[in-house]
């Protein structure tokens, strides 16, 4: 079997600005981000022979291909959730199916598509897919939005763990500290304190407004190629040490209510153990982590599931923010995370690459190895990047 470890690298990254109302099509945003990523890598888009994206986005790869001028691809794949398409890209390159793969996302997540808002339309068009039928046990009782669905898990987690609001608020505060120095971030120059968090209104009790990452309009793109080829390109390569996914029995997207323990992320635990095993390192070797902070209360759980602390110690690790801010033992979400920069899966990969290159707005003094995790509360995925020569 072809080995994944260090076989591929991120050679280019591109991103549009994030906003609450782009006034542009997702198609247009996608093209801008893709061109930026190709320019960053120093490749011609005609070199791209594979395209991967998120199946839930609106802009199909065929349209992208005709607008940005990509001729022929030998690999095309859509994947769900988080940054799962990154795994498709890495495995395709490692297997020799494609040489240069483009990963992109483009979503008017604020102005056009609110999570859950398509549900009524889908139901009314009699789309009886299994995923919609699953919701028939939830929506007639008024449970529909992601904040409500995950709130059920968070309530149980708070009940069992005894995590205090100020410990959760420290995550939002640290992310906002990082975002305040990142010109790309939604909360650029707008720091939020733990006190602000504690006064933040409850959206769906127990979920506060400042527990939730703001939806944004924006696009991003990543160019991946073989590690060998990446060394000849414009940027220092971010080598992919490992990439992994995890699903687990009883799992549903944000509504895994029928498993023995619901205040846990078994998908994340499985994904993390795969990541570390393939990379041949342990959590203590990670210099910077970009975790999934779409919902702040799930961050301590991720720290536990990924092995950065013992089970039950997550809230304590976050308390006060000292350990998780830039300069701490494990700097988290140095772009501000989804909480501070805006919610678009993939932006966590972009920031990991910036750290590896040494170009982050919040550059960590040590950033040889960076972990990215996505999909808290559902199928999980992630990757570990490293700087060449370390």
């Amino acid at each position: 079997m072809a080995s994944i470890k260090d076989a591929t690298a991120v050679a280019g990254i591109g991103m549009t600005g994030f906003s609450l109302d782009s006034g542009r099509t997702e198609y247009s945003l996608a093209c801008e981000a893709i061109k930026a990523a190709a320019d960053d890598a120093g490749i011609d888009l005609l070199d791209v022979d594979g395209i991967v994206t998120d199946v839930s986005d609106g802009i199909d790869a065929m349209y992208v291909q005709k607008a940005v001028g990509i001729d022929n691809c030998t690999y095309a794949s859509d994947s769900h959730f988080g940054t799962a398409p990154m795994m498709n890209a890495v495995t395709a390159i490692a297997a020799g199916i494609a040489h240069t793969v483009l990963y992109y996302r483009s979503v008017n997540g604020s102005s056009q598509r609110r999570a859950g808002s398509d549900f009524r339309a889908a139901k009314e068009t009699k789309d009886n897919s299994l995923d919609l039928i699953r919701y028939d046990f939830y929506h007639p009782f008024g449970l529909l939005t992601p904040e409500g669905s995950i709130g059920m898990i968070v309530r149980r987690y708070l009940h069992e763990s005894g995590a205090r609001p100020d410990q959760i608020g420290a995550i939002t505060a640290v992310c906002s500290e990082h975002a305040a120095k990142n010109p790309h971030a939604t909360f650029y120059d707008a720091p939020i304190t733990v006190d602000d968090y504690l006064e933040s209104p409850l959206l769906v009790d127990p979920i506060r407004e400042l527990d939730c990452a703001p939806a944004v309009d924006g696009a991003l793109a990543v160019v991946l190629t073989s590690a060998e080829r990446a060394r000849d390109l414009r940027q220092p390569p971010a080598l992919v040490m490992s990439v992994a996914q995890g699903t687990s029995t009883g799992g549903e997207l944000l509504t895994s209510y029928n498993r023995d323990v619901i205040s846990a992320l078994p998908e994340m635990r499985l994904m993390g153990s795969e990541l570390f095993e393939t990379a041949g390192i342990s959590p203590a070797d990670v210099d910077v982590a970009q975790l999934d902070d779409r919902f702040a209360p799930l961050v301590p759980l991720q720290l536990e599931e990924l092995g950065f602390c013992e089970r039950g110690q997550g809230p304590e690790l976050c308390e006060g923010g000292k350990e998780i801010r830039l300069g701490g033992r494990l700097p988290l979400n140095t772009n501000g995370g989804f909480l501070g920069e805006g919610f678009l899966y993939g932006a966590n990969v972009i920031e990991a690459v910036q750290q590896i290159r040494g170009t982050s707005a919040n550059q960590s003094s040590t950033a040889d190895i960076v972990l990215v995790a996505s999909g808290a509360g559902g199928p999980a995925d992630g990757l570990i990047l490293r700087r060449q020569g370390t």
């Binding site: 028939d136 046990f137 059920m152 959206l203 009790d205």
Partner: protein
């Protein structure tokens, strides 16, 4: 909790796997899916028992509908709430004595009074001619 008049509630879509459940609710009966071979209960419904992988031992059996509140959320603002329901309302996750958990609402109980561990029993709410939902009532004592 109360529904807002004039806003239709999206009805559950029936398929061959879930039809016996919703038809029983319509008759004010509460049933759960169980594997007759393994004696395990399942929610949501599925065509195969994941333990013995049998497709012909899955059956629907009557349940007393008793259990306790395992978790809950309270909707207090319009922004996140279901338009057809008046805020504030709570949504509860009930753990039934059979071990499965179901999402529902509490009848005759304010959101502030919902607590984890509260004993509950199933009740039925006829919303219109075509739709009956199962709800829960607090069990006293």
């Amino acid at each position: 909790m109360e529904y807002v008049p004039g806003i239709p509630i999206l009805k559950p879509s029936l398929d061959a796997d879930n039809r016996p459940f919703w038809e029983a609710v319509r008759r004010h009966e509460f049933v759960l899916q169980k594997c007759g071979s393994c004696d395990r209960y399942f929610q949501p419904p599925r065509p195969m028992c994941p333990e013995c992988r049998s497709m012909d031992t899955m059956e629907w059996v009557p349940s007393a509908g008793r259990g306790q509140v395992y978790s809950f959320v309270n909707f207090t603002t319009d922004r996140m709430a279901y338009p057809a329901m008046k805020i504030p309302y709570s949504v509860v996750l009930v753990e039934l004595e059979e071990g499965v958990r179901m999402i529902s609402n509490m009848l005759d109980l304010e959101p502030d009074d919902v607590q984890i561990g509260m004993p509950v029993e199933v009740a039925f709410d006829d919303l219109d001619e075509d739709l009956t939902l199962f709800k829960f009532k607090k069990l006293e004592g």
